[in-house]
Symmetry: C2
Subunit: 227 residues, 2 copies
């Protein structure tokens, strides 16, 4: 990730003193140039968080990685919590864009369950995003961690997407009445998280193998529970 | 976790200066008293690591939590890496003890696969151990993290245990010839890791529900692939 040009050091320190406080709540300074800089900071901060974790990261180390003074960084993001929130929002937006680009037309029912394998395969093209998720999720299991509610929401949305697919299969008369849907939904989300942990940690486990493994589990579930 | 009595401050500082270096490699100072103290330090350090992560933990914060001076701590563990290694070894020994106490006689084949559900259920009694694993595993996906090789080995041992169960099912003629064993093994390990992450992070998801969910996946796999 290229650092923001260091001339930033000279200019934004003053701006932060003048208006940094006002901008804390809106979160997005005006002007295309500022928006572009904000985007660059988010990308750089995402990388630092993914390598060092939230707790292991200081605002000064993010500023350094961005080629900014700490005051310059505070101009855009007033606290480490605010920066973390913006980074996770940015990450989720990228996830959604990936998901939207996955299909021509939206699959439903079992086809939507099977689409998860393609999602896992596609995810391997953005290891930085997966590393960011895995590193932060590990810390964010603590209830007092600033990313805990984000983690819960992330899981809730994933579950909702998968549960809808099962509901559609049921509507289509293609799901056994005794299928343990809630358990399968929980387990599918868990498997994706756990496989990605194995993929990131083990250099001998490649992304294609991970997606194949997950596909085998999806087929197992479909073959057992499709009516 | 009760701190070690603070009189330790006065005694072990000198001992560390005199013999700390010699003891670094053996890892275990002589004498029952010292062994008990070491055990207390490991339990306390495990708690600090599980809350703050490896990167977020300093030796001085571990020393403080133990009621030791930093020199006193260094007497037992010369570096943070050495302490981490000892904590993970201690954690794995507790895991093994848990596993050994799980059954009268060792189950085999499908019964051994189903035993995983009981293992997950039993694990919920030691949330501190699970939190330690989950927090450190998140960081340790980085290849240069000092716990990366521990994470790989932990996964390798878990896979080996499950693969053996499938092999036994095959020997007994109770496994379909086309069962995707390697994929199922990977996915079962991943599901345990991922469910535990959900359990730790979500106060509304209790341990019994987690074990039930995992049991539903195990039964799905068995019902699909048992011959």
């Amino acid at each position: 990730m290229p650092p923001v040009p260091s001339q930033e050091n000279a200019t934004s320190g003053t701006a932060a003193n003048a208006s940094g406080r006002l901008r804390r709540n809106s979160g997005r300074p005006k002007g295309a140039d500022s928006a572009a800089r904000r985007e660059e900071i988010l990308a750089t901060a995402a990388q630092v968080f993914s390598e060092e974790g939230y707790r292991g990261t200081s605002m000064s180390s993010v500023a350094r990685a961005c080629g900014l003074s700490q005051t310059g960084l505070l101009h855009h993001f007033a606290t480490k919590d605010v920066l973390l929130g913006a980074v996770m929002e940015w990450r989720d937006a990228q996830d959604m864009a990936l998901l939207d680009g996955l299909d021509q037309g939206v699959p439903r029912a079992w086809a939507a369950v099977e689409r998860l394998e393609r999602l896992v395969r596609l995810n391997t093209r953005q290891p930085g995003m997966i590393r960011l998720f895995t590193t932060l999720a590990g810390e964010a299991t603590a209830h007092d961690h600033p990313a805990n509610s984000w983690l819960l929401e992330h899981h809730r949305l994933a579950e909702e997407m998968i549960r809808r697919a099962f509901r559609e299969a049921e509507e289509d008369g293609r799901l056994s009445a005794d299928a343990p849907v809630d358990s399968l939904v929980r387990c599918l989300v868990a498997t994706m998280d756990g496989l990605q942990m194995q993929w990131l940690s083990d250099p001998d486990y490649d992304g294609a193998a991970m997606a194949d493994d997950f596909g085998a589990l999806i087929r197992t579930i479909r073959e057992r529970w499709e009516a």
